[in-house]
Point group: C2
Chain length 403, copies 2
């Protein structure tokens, strides 16, 4: 079996490394060698051991009948999507770690793959090396999936862990993450939740058959989380985690969101720290199942890519159902989503807060603010109360839902 890798960045290089390091075991498994014939890479990378495989023109790859699998490791929507589409149309299997392409174009790419009798697989796009998409689509597929709650972004989880462990501010923890190479110079896609948003869109598409556009998913990041919030949460027995969530309603619609949540320390998600990812899935028969591991990095991502490749090599069937693009009414209006909330309020008498938020639980609070836990209320109710509070001169310093 001969494959081509698109891109020799971190992920492409890691995938080539795995295929080299474990070549013997892989050949034994498949019944013959798996060879990288080309790597599409326009840059010169003088110290790269795979330079002899570099080609600059995708035509070389797509027109070569010996290449049966294309491993897309370019990142970004274009030309990654275009090349993936052309490879599928040419009857080649496509494997990717590119969550942006899957979240934006998964409906089309899965349809074309099915029409052409080839596979489009993307285990590496969510949770790095953690097997979660295939188990969800296959092993758990006898269940109705009621909910998914995932720590889907390692950068933000690292930042929240440092805020918890070292009492660091968001800015300091972010700087530390950047120093360690866990966060990019422009960290917006991570800290504002877009990365997690793409991943929950993919997970939900597998669970529901419906792919929701990321722009339609309520997405909050962690930039507003204060160390005071993290320590208040901790003393109450909660960790603060950025979660991607899918919650199915009784009517068969579902909520989708990315937001920070207070997670009870008894919940295994609360113990997932540093750059690790974890996905908790609730099925109507299996109850809760958790998948945990490294959500990024060259080696874990390569593990998932090659897992998909071996599925193809062993004649595996397509396990993703056809997805359809979400329509009006698939996604429940987020303003109906109900949760208990942690609030920190400033410039306000406790009396006003009590009048507005009813039987809340008031916490021992730092000077200058009032911290409280509210009973469950919808976004709509909360917005209404927040407006009333602000008309009394009060200010919401922080607002985090409770899982």
């Amino acid at each position: 079996m001969q494959v081509a890798i698109l891109g020799c960045g971190v992920v492409g290089r890691g995938t080539a490394d795995l295929l080299t390091a474990n070549a013997e075991a892989i050949a034994a498994r498949v019944g013959g060698p798996v060879t990288v014939k080309y790597i599409l890479e326009r840059r010169e990378i003088p110290d790269c051991p795979y330079q002899a495989l570099f080609v600059k023109d995708f035509e070389t790859i797509v027109s070569d009948p010996e290449v049966s699998v294309v491993i897309e490791a370019m990142g970004g929507s274009h030309p990654a999507y275009d090349f993936s589409l052309r490879a599928l149309e040419a009857g080649k299997h496509v494997i990717t770690s590119n969550k942006e392409v899957v979240a934006n174009f998964g409906v089309d790419l899965l349809r074309v793959a099915r029409e052409k009798g080839v596979l489009y697989l993307f285990e590496a796009s969510v949770g790095g090396g953690i097997p979660v998409l295939h188990p969800l689509a296959s092993d758990l597929s006898g269940n109705l999936i009621d909910s998914i709650s995932g720590i889907l972004n390692g950068t933000t989880n690292y930042i929240l862990t440092r805020m918890y462990e070292a009492g660091a501010s968001f800015a300091d923890a972010l700087a530390e993450a950047q120093e360690k190479g866990y966060a990019e110079a422009n960290p917006a896609a991570d800290v504002e939740g877009l990365d997690a948003c793409r991943k929950i869109a993919i997970l939900a598409a597998i669970a529901t058959g419906t792919l929701v556009r990321t722009g339609d998913i309520h997405t909050e990041g962690i930039t507003a989380i204060r160390s005071a919030d993290v320590s208040a949460a901790s003393s109450l027995g909660y960790a603060v985690k950025l979660l991607g969530r899918m919650v199915r309603t009784a009517a068969g619609e579902f909520f989708l969101m990315v937001a920070p949540f207070l997670v009870d320390k008894a919940n295994p998600l609360a113990g997932i720290s540093d750059v690790f990812n974890g996905v908790m899935i609730h099925g109507n028969f299996v109850d809760n199942v958790l998948f945990y591991g490294r959500g990024a990095g060259a080696c874990p991502t390569a593990s998932a890519m090659v897992g998909d490749l071996l599925h193809v090599a062993l004649g595996g069937a397509p396990y993703h159902s056809a997805w359809r693009a979400a329509e009006e009414g698939d996604l429940t209006d987020f303003s109906y989503f109900a949760a208990r909330r942690y609030l920190a309020v400033g410039d306000c008498e406790r009396n006003s807060v009590e009048v507005i938020f009813g039987d809340a639980e008031f916490l021992a609070s730092p000077a200058g603010e009032i911290q409280l836990l509210t009973p469950p209320m919808s976004e709509r109710e909360y917005e209404d109360k927040a407006t009333r509070l602000s008309s009394c001169g009060g200010k919401i310093l922080s607002h985090i839902r409770i899982l």
Copy 2:
């Protein structure tokens, strides 16, 4: 698609319940209904809604060409093995939750399945509803699997959790587990480690291709664990967990064992409590991955059975490699297995313990015993030291390895 279920006990009934409750979603997934045509059950079960499907003779099932899948939920080696073999030989796929049959006869049954071009699947045999065998055999198969450490038995995990949380003795915690229906009247297979032993044999067979006989696996249960050990461990930052372990050596051989271990609370396995199961797998590229959930019970086990069934229904390929029976030299002699140890010693001066165990870490110990943590040493070294200790009149009150 028409299936037959062998046995209408907890698991068989649960599987029928799932196929009934989620029938619509399953039919949509598969592109047609999945129907239970027969349930093999000799007993009369007057309140069972599936009585009309009961047959008493396996011949009815095996000779019916409309039945393409047999779901074995009988338990025990015989006739479960014999029926599974005959079903495979008749060209029917077989799905089972029966760890005893897989651990004893997996080599043969996988071979016959392959010869007949059908599938033999057994996701439900390890970890109940948790997807772990399929991910290990498929998604992680690009890795060399260095180690597996699993909490594989819910009964013993419940007992250890109660000993930890309530300071209960083993006997009291066992009685509580029996009251709650988590432990059987004869709990030997659970508390002496045989159940976990079968499961680690299966996991290791997937990781290595070699099935080791359960009788050749070093197996200790938890009957000797004292509440004093659990509390000493806890104050040191460890939980006591019964683990099934596979550890690959540099020479490509491997150790297999079932034994209680002290697990650092920073390790996610330490946080898995009550009847939950968890399996940590280390691959050379993916690093550590953890799978967590309900390891037993009608509904989770049914989830795994039906996951396998949908794999068959969707034309999935066999994902288990051919296994071979272990030979001399596959399994490393357990006496070479090295670990740090927690010891409690009685009837002995600290001085003698120091002389024999070298630079151990001595703990603040309850009256009448000396507790210590030893440096890493092999089983052989340990046995030697324990003999010397006993020749000084000392007595090992407890001995638990450290993960």
